[in-house]
Amino acid sequence: MTESFYFTMEATNGTPQTKAGDWSNYQRVLLPPIRDLHKLEVYEENGGYKALREVLANSDWEPSKVTDEVKASGLKGRGGAGFPTGLKWSFMPPVDPDIPRFLCCNGDESEPGTFKDRQLMEYNPHLIFEGCLIANYAMSIKTCYIYVRGEFADWITHMERELAKAYDKGYVGENIMGTGFSTDIVIHKGAGAYICGEETSLMESLEGKRAYPRIKPPFPAQRGIWGYPTTINNVETLACAPIIINRGGKWYAGIGAETHPGPVLYGISGHVNKPGVYEYPTGMLITDLLEVAGGMRGGKKLKALVPGGCSVPVLRAEMIDGVTMDADSLRTVGSMMGTGGMLFLDEDTDMVSFLRRVTHFYHHESCGQCTPCREGTGWLENLVTRIDEGEGNLRDLDLLLDLCDQMEGRTVCALADAAAWPVRNTINRFRDEFEAKCKPAVFATGGEVEAVVD
């Protein structure tokens, strides 16, 4: 492990509130500061594919042991739902040589405010490949699909070029590194629909069908791509696998928040001075992250924060004191970690306009399969637009909340919930702003009446 490019992190637990330890001295592992790391030769020089060689060549690494190590690391999915990855891997049925099984790497990153996977694809694609290969080994899978969002055309070409190199060097394909293990990686280009990021509709899309989410159960591990057992993980989640193998699950579990550990890519955007993707441990104080991102632009005050992509509940500025970026802490203030795509909004932001944009997105992206989502998302946008334009009525606010009730939990996939949550929470948390924009419900009495009173 001495040749590794990974650096040991000393957790000093300096600041009392943060769960990220001595984060200011944190050494990046997902996106380390190495020039041209996306090139195979550079990646190899810096310890690339070492974890893969380790699990394939060392007979101590039974496939099940790899899964156990991932379980021990406490890694939770980075795609938004935060499901424990090792547990997900263990859902795969026992190996049957007659039944193909698949791994799918979900690179259909399209939630507004989320742009972390793209950074990995651009700067460290081989880490993704290596993660896929390790996962394939752990679950005895022969094919991995990397489903990449269609708009990422440049990154697809970029990854295909790097993947071809990895094939040439024998890291992927038949008889990898002479160990007898064979597996393929296929990069699939999506056609640009948010819904394809939902795991079951991603599988439909991959099969060449219209991307309508499937009913669960059966879950992908039972019936996935072409009806065969499938595991789907986010790009960033799979990229953690080589790190866990190299450093050990125990090391990984010690990074950041205890219940939600590991390094994580924070995609910080909005009205901050230095927006971008920042790699830090989980459990960072939101205030620290704001500081890292250079503070609010123009010295403005923070008004609201969306902590993990636009579908998670928005937080008012006064709610974020002492809150850290991990599932438990965010739950206490009624929000979620999501994808870690943090959107900071300053005091000049009109929350009604913000919500109008969000509802427009879900209206545009609803696949139209289920009634409540197909019809509800459009209605939500209509109502919020009307309020934003000053034509709304106070009763529209209650109707909006009612519609959220009518949508949540009544559809095949979670898009309806994702569309309803921001509406519900933005209205509940910024109701004053919405009311201010609505037409008054009680009108001032006319001049003549005043005259009589006088």
């Binding site: 209206h363 992206e365 139209g368 399969q369 459009g378 109707l399 939990g409 009544r410 559809t411 095949v412």
Partner: protein, 575 residues
């Protein structure tokens, strides 16, 4: 046996039925749109939501957990479940809208959503009156609408193919039509295009929706989004009577309904029969109805001084009887018909036998390559199998021609067919030979040489039995009235809603378009009696009673056939 509790009532079940189908089978109504028993379950309409709970079991022992009263503890799913996709398991407890306000509310909410962008043009919509969306909106929907915006606009009156027209705005995206072309007909000619609230079904670029089963999507469509190019705007549903019957365009015997208004057949729709056509009907069966309305004869005719003149039925029967009596029975060419019922063909064999002759056979109407192994067959007649089981085989044209050339045929008796049109004879051949013709349409080429022309009742006007290619014997009942009084037909007539619910003073009843024809089981005995060979059948039921004693028709009584027919035993075909 495992049990499920639905609304407090306990039902036993076998296997792993889906909840919605189980409820429908047990007469528990659950509203739904996208579910169809023959197709995959997408659970996309979200209308059949129910509250589902399972008994809690101890993890270690697997024992049921009991509450203080000794009843199993039920844990309900946090979300409502779609009953169409829900497998029933032992001990499951289900609350439908009857016992759960939550479910009631969910169904009302879904209907509110379905209606916000649905054009409420029921007054001009073909589906109105039997529209699941309309019915359910009245039954379970909200009152009024809270939607104050412009509805989504989509393409209207789009011809998807020659026979199906789309109104995109009415579509509720249940995807039944798409699933039909994907899973049942496998033509893949429809798909959903656009996204979200703009979704609607459409053909892929460069494709026309012209498969031979395309019109099934019209019945599948739970709203008026897909309509028949042919029937569109022709009639309201409550003005028509629908009569369960079978289609006669091919030898499959597909079950159908004939929809009749003012004694005109306006459309044909499938009638489910899992032993024959399941839920489907080929387009050719549906487009067949015009021949029931058009080119129909105006009454019996006889030839006098070389021209056909209209006469009373008695005179026509008399002429037919005279022809039969004028020649030796063996010199009459009796032609059976694969278009006619078993009863009619049977009576023809009786008549021929009484006269000392025999039925020569029937004219085959086979079009090789037309069949597709599903609902279309090479044979374009409905009753070839029935004829064969009566011992009437397809005629050997060479033998008949040889007899004709040898002058052995002195008269021709044709039951409901067209020997000239079929090319057996030319018009000149029969110019000097007396011909008795039972016929359907004035387009019949043999009519030109007929000496006694007797209009025959078609499948929509008669009572009788047809045997399909697969040996399925099915009876038909009259869908429309004919002129004249026939008690058997009157008793079996289909009724429309107005027939049933209005009073005679409502003046809904219409005498128009009645055809002056007779079922051959009425005409043949009349001719036979005048020819001196009286038959004593009271009606087709009694005829079939007698026929069902033959081994080839064993069990095929009217009572046994009912609405779904009986499968006859295979018998070795006589050659």
């Amino acid at each position: 046996m495992p049990q499920v509790t639905i609304d407090g009532q306990v039902y036993e079940f076998e296997g792993r039925p889906k909840l919605l189908q189980f409820c429908l089978d047990h007469g528990i109504e659950l509203p739904h749109f996208c579910y169809h028993p023959a197709m995959s379950i997408p659970a996309n309409c979200r209308q059949c939501l129910v509250d589902v709970g399972n008994p809690v079991r101890d993890r270690a022992t697997g024992e049921l957990q009991l509450d203080d009263d000794g009843q199993p503890v039920i844990r309900f799913f946090p979300k409502l479940q779609t009953s169409c996709s829900q497998d029933i398991t032992d001990g499951m407890v289900v609350k439908t809208k009857r016992t759960s306000e939550k479910v009631q509310r969910a169904q009302r909410d879904t209907l509110e959503f379905l209606l916000i962008n649905h054009p409420l043009d029921c007054p001009i919509c073909d589906q109105a009156g039997h529209c699941p969306l309309q019915i359910q909106a009245y039954k379970y929907g909200p009152e009024g609408s809270r939607f104050e915006f412009r509805k989504v606009h989509k393409p209207k009156k789009v011809k998807l193919g020659p026979r199906v027209v789309l109104d995109g705005e009415r579509c509720i995206n249940c995807t039944r039509c798409v699933r039909f072309t994907d899973e049942i007909s496998k033509s893949h000619q429809l798909t959903i295009i656009q996204r979200g609230v703009s979704n609607y079904p459409m053909t892929p670029p460069g494709v026309t929706f012209d498969e031979p089963y395309s019109m099934n999507v019209i019945d599948l469509c739970p709203v008026g989004a897909l309509t028949s190019a042919d029937f569109r705007f022709q009639a309201r549903i409550w003005e028509m009577s629908s009569t369960p019957s079978i289609s006669t365009v091919n030898a499959k015997g597909s079950n159908c309904y004939y929809w009749v208004r003012d004694n005109l057949v306006l459309r044909v729709t499938p009638r489910p029969n899992l032993d024959v056509n399941e839920y489907w009907l080929a387009d050719e069966d549906r487009l067949d109805y015009k021949r029931f309305n058009e080119d129909r004869p105006v009454g019996p005719q006889i030839r006098a001084a070389g021209v056909l003149i209209h006469v009373e039925w008695e005179q026509a029967y008399q002429r037919a009887a005279e022809i039969l009596k004028s020649v030796d029975g063996g010199e009459i060419l009796f032609l059976g018909s694969a278009y006619a019922t078993v009863e009619d063909n049977y009576l023809l064999t009786k008549l021929a036998g009484a006269l000392g002759g025999a039925v020569a056979g029937y004219l085959p109407h086979v079009e090789p390559g037309h069949g597709d192994g599903w609902l279309r067959t090479d044979d374009r007649t409905p009753n070839a199998q029935g004829c064969q089981r009566l011992g009437i085989n397809p005629i050997d044209e060479a033998v008949v021609r040889a007899r004709f050339e040898a002058g052995e045929i002195k008269a021709v008796y044709v039951l409901e067919d067209d020997p000239i049109g079929a090319g057996l004879f030319s018009q000149d051949d029969l110019e000097d030979i007396p011909v008795v013709l039972h016929y359907y349409n004035t387009t019949n080429a043999t009519l030109a040489v007929a000496d006694a022309a007797l209009p025959a009742a078609m499948v929509v006007e008669t009572v009788g039995t047809f045997v399909s290619e697969d040996g399925h014997a099915q009876r038909v009942v009259p869908a429309k009235a004919i002129r004249g009084v026939n008690r058997t037909l009157r008793m079996q007539m289909g009724m429309s809603r107005t027939d049933r619910h209005a009073t005679p003073f409502d003046r809904w009843y219409n005498e128009s378009h009645k055809i002056d024809c007779k079922p051959s089981w009425e005409a043949l005995p009349a001719v036979a009696a005048l020819a001196g060979h009286a038959m004593t059948y009271k009606g087709p039921r009694q005829i079939m009673q007698e026929v069902s004693k033959m081994p080839a028709f064993e069990g095929a009584t009217y009572e046994a056939m009912g609405l779904h027919g009986v499968r006859l035993q295979d018998v070795a075909e006589e050659v």
